[in-house]
């Protein structure tokens, strides 16, 4: 299983590299935005996201995204919730590009870290690779703001035996993107 995951992450990294190189050689599009993410059964983790696409790649259907979401900007504000950070990269593919409501699917990866704030818990897993899939719908408003709702599944999550206990599998995302370029 771990070998398959490593292969998937490597493949994703190679695609990201190629896409990034190609994007900057062509006419690129950049969306900046905010992400509200909720794990089913745990925290709100909010943060910032950006997406890139190019005219010449998959007719602007393929997007490369990067983001940072954290409970520091969500459930942990003014509470005892665990502070945890997600550094995310993903590839999204949009269907029905000429429609106002566009379905999309994503494959994501990244890095997760939870801060347990005490040496008492040093034996517990606090970090993990992220690997996720998600699907959703995106609506472009008349003011060009894109509103994007998705449901996703973390293929790696905690299970009591291994993995951070606050990394939950099922999550929902609400994203707001504004096209800069």
């Amino acid at each position: 299983m771990k070998t398959i995951l490593k292969c998937l992450v490597t493949l994703l990294g190679m695609i990201l590299f190629v896409l990034t190189t190609e994007s900057f050689a062509q006419q690129t599009h950049i969306d900046l935005g905010l992400r509200v993410q909720k794990s089913f059964g745990l925290y709100y983790e909010n943060g910032f996201v950006a997406q890139f696409s190019a005219d010449s790649i998959a007719q602007q259907r393929l997007y490369l995204g990067i983001g940072y979401v954290s409970s520091r900007l969500g459930s942990a504000i003014g509470s005892n919730a665990i502070k945890q950070d997600n550094y995310q990269v993903w590839l999204s593919y949009y269907f029905k590009k000429d429609h106002k409501l566009q379905p999309f699917v994503s494959l994501g990866s990244g890095f997760f870290h939870a801060d347990y704030e005490s040496d008492d818990f040093e034996e517990l897993d606090q970090s993990s690779l992220l690997l996720s899939t998600s699907a959703g719908l995106e609506y472009t408003t008349p003011i060009r703001l894109k509103v994007n709702l998705a449901i996703g599944y973390n293929l790696i999550s905690g299970n009591g035996q291994e993995g951070p206990g606050t990394l939950y599998p099922v999550f929902g995302q609400l994203n707001f993107y504004y096209p800069l370029k």
Binding site: L42, E117, D120, F121, N159, G165, V170
Partner: protein, 333 residues
């Protein structure tokens, strides 16, 4: 007869013949729905060898005076009333058996008393288990606590394993002990705040489809733990641990003279070890809280009898040291 009216509120317009006969995906969906509905409800046959059945009950129901100090010694002398009493609270779907090894380890000691509480709805038939809420589970603890106070006991200590720990945390958070003599010490073994099975939060959606779950108990465990877990009880479990997690997020204040001692397995397939982190962060004052992480792969590592897992020498040491720790803390302070 189940009422499936809510499905119509989705406003789906389906041509049923087309769905059934011209569309393979539709046929597959109908098949899945059929299997789901067929698997709903309760287990069709519960054998008499199971706790779930109508023959085996928790022995504390028949002879509560053998389990509860409030009944075995209702009129203590002043000296007896000052001895520590441990109210032992088991976890979800378990019974008084979960703490029987502590009682056996204690032997005929006169240094302290034990009160082994059977949580409400537990130790009885599947149907009774199914019909009780987490508040019903908790009331059994309160009944014994109040009975001990009424009898004059002053040195009461709470010991909770797994969901027993969550029920005690909820009691503190909801202010149950305000205006009463507070417990002197609280001990928790593998308290659950975060489940290891991260799908549990979806039980509200999945539960009505599955009806119940079946656990793989050993032959020995079948008389003391439920084999079939009604989805209604899993929803209650999810409600109590969610409430406790949110209470911890806001902060739970211990009564001023009460200490909290948590013992948590580092690898636990039922109560995620990160539960201890949430308790560490959420309970104050911090100088009254002690957390010990125990190198173990067992859930409720103090119960070793009838385990499906092989019990190691380290497991026996963990049990022994934790029992000693609990008793020493209660006797010294």
């Amino acid at each position: 007869m189940k009422n499936y009216e809510p499905f119509y509120s989705l406003g789906l317009k389906v041509n049923l013949p087309t769905l059934l006969f011209r569309n393979r995906l539709g046929l597959y969906l109908v098949l899945c729905l059929g299997i789901s509905l067929a698997s709903c409800g309760d287990p069709s046959d519960i054998s008499d060898e199971l706790l779930d059945g109508k023959v085996i009950f928790d022995p504390s129901i028949m002879a509560p005076e053998n389990y509860l100090t409030s009944l075995s010694n209702p009129n203590p002398t002043p000296e007896e009333a000052s001895r520590p009493v441990f109210i032992l609270c088991h976890g979800y779907s378990a019974s008084t058996f979960e703490w029987s090894e502590f009682i056996a380890w204690s032997g005929n000691t006169e240094a302290y008393y034990t009160s082994s509480v059977l949580l409400g709805g537990h130790g009885r038939t599947y149907e009774e288990f199914k019909s009780n809420s987490w508040q019903d589970w908790q009331w059994a603890i309160f009944d014994e606590y109040e009975a001990l106070l009424d009898a004059g006991y002053t040195n009461i200590n709470l010991v909770g394993s797994s969901t027993g720990g969550a029920l005690i945390l909820e009691a503190i958070s909801s202010g149950y002990f305000k205006g009463k003599t507070a417990p002197k010490h609280i001990f928790m073994v593998d308290p659950i705040v975060l489940p290891s099975d991260k799908i549990l939060p979806l039980i509200g959606v999945l539960g009505p489809l599955i009806g119940y779950t079946e656990s793989e108990n050993t032959d020995g465990e079948k008389s003391y733990w439920y084999t079939y877990r009604p989805q209604e009880t899993l929803q209650e479990l999810q409600k109590i641990i969610k409430k406790v997690r949110l209470d911890l997020q806001k902060g739970i204040n211990l009564p001023s003279q009460t200490s909290l001692n948590v013992y948590k397995s580092t690898h636990d397939s039922s109560a995620d070890p990160a539960s201890a982190v949430l308790i560490y962060k959420g309970v104050s004052p911090s100088n009254q809280v002690s957390i010990k992480m125990i190198d173990s792969e067992l859930h409720v590592f103090t119960r070793l009898n009838y385990r499906i897992e092989s019990v190691s020498a380290q497991d026996r040491t963990n049990q022994e040291q934790t029992f000693q720790d609990i008793v020493e803390i209660a006797l010294q302070h």
